[in-house]
Amino acid sequence: MKAAITQYYPADSPLHRADPRAKFVAVMALAVALFTRDSWAALAVYAVAGVVAFGLSRVPLRWVWRAMKPVLWLIALTFVAQILFAPGDPFFSLGPFELSGEGLRLAGFLSVRLLVLILIGSALTLTTPPVALTDALAWLGRPLRRLRVPSDELALMITLALRFIPTLLVELDTIMRAQRARGADFSSGGPVRRARALIPVLVPLFVVSFRRADDLALAMEARCYTPGAPRTRLHPLHARLTDAFLLAVVAAVIVLASVI
C-alpha cells in the first residue's frame, strides 16, 4: 500500500525553488496555449520548452516516464483509429485496413502533443509538494471570493482530503480482512456477484468515516476554527524576481509559438 500519495520528487533546483503560484500559472498557460495552434513548428517550441524545464528540474528520467506510461494505450488507440477511419489517399491497404499518410501524420501529431502536455504538466507536480500547490491554489482563487467561492476553505478541504486518503485505505484494508475472516469472498463469481460482495465492506466503511468526519468537525470547532475568518500560515509564500523571470520566459515561449 502506498504510504505517501504524491508525485513530488525532492531535489534542489531552480524549478523546485520557484514560487508555486508562478509555476502553476506558467504551466496552466503553456498547457492551454498548446491547444490553440495546430502546427508542428509551434509544437516543437513547446516540446523544447518542456525538455528545458525538465532538464532544469534535475528529476531523473524514470520519474517522467512513470507519468507518461498511463497515456500509452491512448496513443495506441489513436493510431488504430486513424488506420481504420483515416481520410486521405491510402498508400497501403490490406483488406479493410487502409493506411494513409495524412492519417498517420495526424495520429503522430496528436500523440506528440499529448506527450508534450504530460511533460509540461509533470514539470509542476514533480517539483512542487502538494501542500505548497494547495496554498498556491488558495491564493490564486482569492479573487473568486467576490463570487462567494470560499477559496481558503477549499484549500483546507483539499489538505484534509489528502490526509484522509491513507487513513481510508488502512480502514478499508481492516474491514476487508475482518469480512474475509468471517468468510466473505471478494474474488470469485461474475461482476454482479463481486459487486454484491462489496456491500458489507462499504456500509461499515461509511459508518466509520462519518464518525471520523464528525469527530474532526467537533475537534476543529473546539479549537475555534471559524470558516471565512482570516488565517495566517506557518510557511507564507514569497515571490522573488526569478519568479517574474519564469513568467516572462513562458510568455515569450507562447508568443514565439504563436508567430512561428
Binding site: 500519495i5 504524491t6 499529448l114 504538466g121 476553505e153 456500509v203 462519518f210 468526519a213 468537525a217
Partner: protein
C-alpha cells in the same frame, strides 16, 4: 463545519477509489464512479458537487486521478472529459435522488441519470481531442457496463445507509 469535513471525506473517498482496483476481465474496476454517485445519493447535490470540486483540485496537486495521473495535463488531456464529467454527474445524482424515498429503484434511476452527462462529456471530449469519432464511443462501452454495475452497488449501499430501521449515522442531505 460539517460541510468541510464531509466534503473532504468524500473527495478522499473518490481519490482512494482510484487505488482500489477489483479486476473484472480486462477492464480495471476502479471504485471512482461508485463514490461520485454515492456522494450525490448521500450528501445531496450541492455538497456532492463541492466534493468533486475538491477532488479535482486535489488532483492538480497529487496523483489521485485514475491510474495515478495528476496535474493540469491529465485534467485537460484527452480523458479529462471523464474527470470534468464527475461534476454534472454528482449534481445530477444528488438532484434526482431523495432521502425521503431511499428505495433501491429510485437510487438506481438517479445513478443512471448521473452516468448520462458523465459519458456525454467524456466521449465528446475524447473524440474531439484525439480525432477518434466512433472508436472512442466503442472503446468506452466496457467501462459503461462496469459503471452500470457500480450504480447498482451504490444504490444498494445508499439505500441501506438512508433507510430508517438501520439507524446508521448519516449526515443530513442539503436538500
Amino acid at each position: 463545519m460539517v460541510d468541510i469535513t464531509y466534503c473532504a471525506l468524500f473527495a478522499a473517498l473518490i481519490a482512494s477509489g482510484a487505488f482500489v482496483a477489483v479486476p473484472v476481465g480486462p477492464v480495471p474496476f476502479t471504485l471512482q464512479t461508485l463514490f461520485v454517485v454515492l456522494a450525490g445519493m448521500i450528501l445531496g447535490p450541492r455538497r456532492a458537487l463541492l466534493s468533486v470540486v475538491v477532488y479535482l483540485s486535489l488532483g492538480l496537486a497529487a496523483p489521485v486521478y485514475a491510474g495515478g495521473g495528476c496535474g493540469v495535463g491529465t485534467l485537460i488531456g484527452p480523458t479529462g472529459g471523464f474527470l470534468l464529467g464527475f461534476l454534472p454527474a454528482a449534481y445530477a445524482v444528488g438532484s434526482l435522488s431523495s432521502s425521503r424515498d431511499p428505495s433501491v429503484g429510485r437510487m438506481v434511476c438517479a445513478g443512471l441519470g448521473g452516468l448520462l452527462p458523465l459519458y456525454a462529456l467524456g466521449v465528446a471530449w475524447l473524440a474531439a481531442q484525439q480525432d477518434l469519432g466512433l472508436a472512442a464511443a466503442a472503446g468506452v462501452l466496457p467501462f459503461l457496463a462496469a459503471d452500470v454495475v457500480k450504480v447498482g452497488l451504490a444504490a444498494a449501499v445508499a439505500s441501506r445507509m438512508l433507510s430508517r430501521p438501520l439507524g446508521l449515522p448519516v449526515p443530513q442531505r442539503d436538500r
